[in-house]
């Protein structure tokens, strides 16, 4: 088994972008290639994650990217796993390096949806649900997470103000991220007074629809060492699944796929949650972050809301969560999000995170899932000095 490393990373700004989806994807790819100090000729395979390419009149996107990078002979693979597409795709790239099939690959996530407008985007996202039981019965994605929020709040006596604290913290972090979509300081009152989207979730409990692309260069450790560049090692990888429909879960206040994926990743890394210095988690809605940090083992079930209020997940807290601003502030171009989290880890560990740097961090975790957690992935990274 080969050790797997991240040698370079790049990302576009997240937000409403004017370029077409291929131009966005290529911009992040070129950033990652240049960050790694490699040539396209070093890339032996291309992995791409995307969900709504059909809305951009472009599916089968990976070979198009390879062709436009001048390496049309390199095999490309496009992977879709709803909002978890990036991390699920990363896992496949990781596995192929680890198994020795390739020395160096490009892992690229991209999405462009803002041109479709809020109503069509809401509809497109509902296709990521178990449509027969959810989207087809009128559930939007905010609606699905709102139902999860209500179940959690009922079980653990949490309230809407608890949710609001997640949004406030992530917006504070996003203010320090020049590539974040929503760079705006907000207060708990702003969240509570924002329009209801699907009760109990309000506008500021929800991440934005974003365009954007993120890319990383993965390689084996021998390749990384020969490059002479600083790199980050991937020391843990886990994948888990949950019932696709919320109705199928015995306990709606947890996401089983996250728990499974985290257990695998911690085991592979030989660490526990207590060893993680910071994490990028899937905060598509504020309730998701509260559930994530419990399912990942950072806090006992039912205790995260209090810890978040007390600052435990702030940049200077005991376990900083989403220093990038998370999906909530940085944005959520769904095909790119899982890779964007890994770009944040690379930037943190390579001295490129500026004011949002988590001091002395050496172990980081990323967590990303598709839909309401039906497909989840957790990865753990180690800074190589």
């Amino acid at each position: 088994m080969e050790n797997v490393c991240i040698l370079g990373a790049g990302s576009t700004k997240y937000g409403r972008l004017n370029e077409d989806i291929i131009e966005i994807a290529l911009a992040a790819s070129v950033d990652a290639i240049e960050s790694a100090g490699i040539s396209p000729r070093d890339i032996q395979a291309g992995y791409l994650s995307n969900v709504f390419g059909v809305a951009d009149k472009q599916v089968h996107m990976a070979p198009v990217i390879m062709s436009n990078l001048g390496i049309s002979h390199v095999p490309g693979l496009t992977i879709e796993s709803a909002c978890g597409s990036g991390s699920v795709m990363f896992r496949e790239a990781f596995a192929n390096i680890r198994a020795g099939f390739y020395d160096c690959v490009l892992a690229l996530g991209v999405e462009k949806v803002t041109h479709t407008g809020t109503n069509q985007s809401t509809t497109l996202f509902s296709y990521c649900s178990d449509f027969f039981y959810e989207g087809g019965n009128g559930a939007s994605f905010p609606g699905l997470f709102a139902s999860i929020a209500r179940a959690y709040m009922t079980k653990y006596k949490a309230n809407e103000e608890d949710l609001a604290h997640v949004a406030v913290k992530n917006h504070e972090n996003g203010l320090l991220n020049p590539k974040a979509h929503v760079r705006k300081k907000i207060t708990v009152e702003d969240v509570l007074n924002s329009p209801v989207v699907a009760s109990p979730l309000k506008l500021y409990d929800c991440c934005p629809f974003s365009d954007g692309a993120s890319a990383v260069i993965l390689c084996n450790e021998n390749f990384a060492k020969k490059s002479g560049k600083p790199y980050v090692q991937v020391i843990g990888s886990g994948r888990g699944g949950s019932p696709a429909a919320v109705q199928g879960r015995n306990d709606i206040s947890t996401i089983p796929g996250t728990v499974i994926a985290a257990k695998q990743a911690y085991k592979m890394a030989g660490i526990s949650a207590h060893d993680v210095d910071f994490a990028e988690v899937h905060d598509c809605f504020t309730i998701a972050e509260i559930i994530d940090v419990e399912d990942l083992g950072f806090f006992p079930k039912g205790k995260a809301a209090r810890e978040i209020r007390d600052g435990a997940t702030s940049r200077k807290g005991k376990i900083p969560i989403n220093p990038s601003g998370g999906l909530k502030s940085k944005g959520h171009p769904i095909g790119a999000t899982g890779i964007g989290q890994i770009v944040e880890v690379f930037e943190q560990f390579s001295g490129q995170a500026g004011e949002r740097t988590i001091n002395d961090a050496e172990i980081a975790l990323t967590h990303n899932f598709g839909a309401t957690g039906a497909s989840a992935a957790v990865h753990i990274f180690k800074k190589v000095n």
Binding site: T123, S126, G138, G143, P195, V196, A198
Partner: protein, 128 residues
């Protein structure tokens, strides 16, 4: 008329819902009951089942009220999307419940019943 054998399990589930019932499978090996649309037993992974229709009555497990509805639901003034637990068998399903305007209209535990299934709004519930 279609050959009954050509009806898919989802079509059968819909037909049951139109009669205010929920179609389930009960595993002959371990007695686990699940919605009929799941093809293997979730517990023992067997495929020997009795197909059973249960009354579509249950209670609200969780719900939301949409202010920004997805396409196809814009015509409804205000509705809830509800996860409900069937009485007696503790199997959950979900559906569309019209005329719910605020959370206090639908406390957790409220009794609901399957009203039918329509092509536009899916499985339709009624608050009892």
């Amino acid at each position: 008329m279609k050959n009954p054998k050509s009806i898919s399990v989802r079509q059968k589930f819909i037909a049951s819902a139109k009669n205010s019932k929920i179609l389930t499978r009960k595993c002959k090996d371990c007695s686990t009951i699940m919605l009929a649309t799941i093809l293997y037993c979730e517990k023992c992974h067997g495929k020997n089942f009795n197909i059973i229709e249960y009354p579509g009555s249950g209670y609200v497990t969780t719900f939301t009220i949409h202010t920004v509805p997805p396409e196809g639901f814009e015509d409804v003034d205000s509705y809830a999307w509800v996860v409900f637990t069937l009485d007696d068998i503790l199997v959950r399903a979900s559906g569309f419940l019209p005329n719910i305007k605020k959370p206090s209209d639908l406390p957790i535990g409220s009794k609901v019943n399957v009203q039918g299934f329509d092509e536009k709004h899916g499985l339709v519930l009624k608050k009892l």
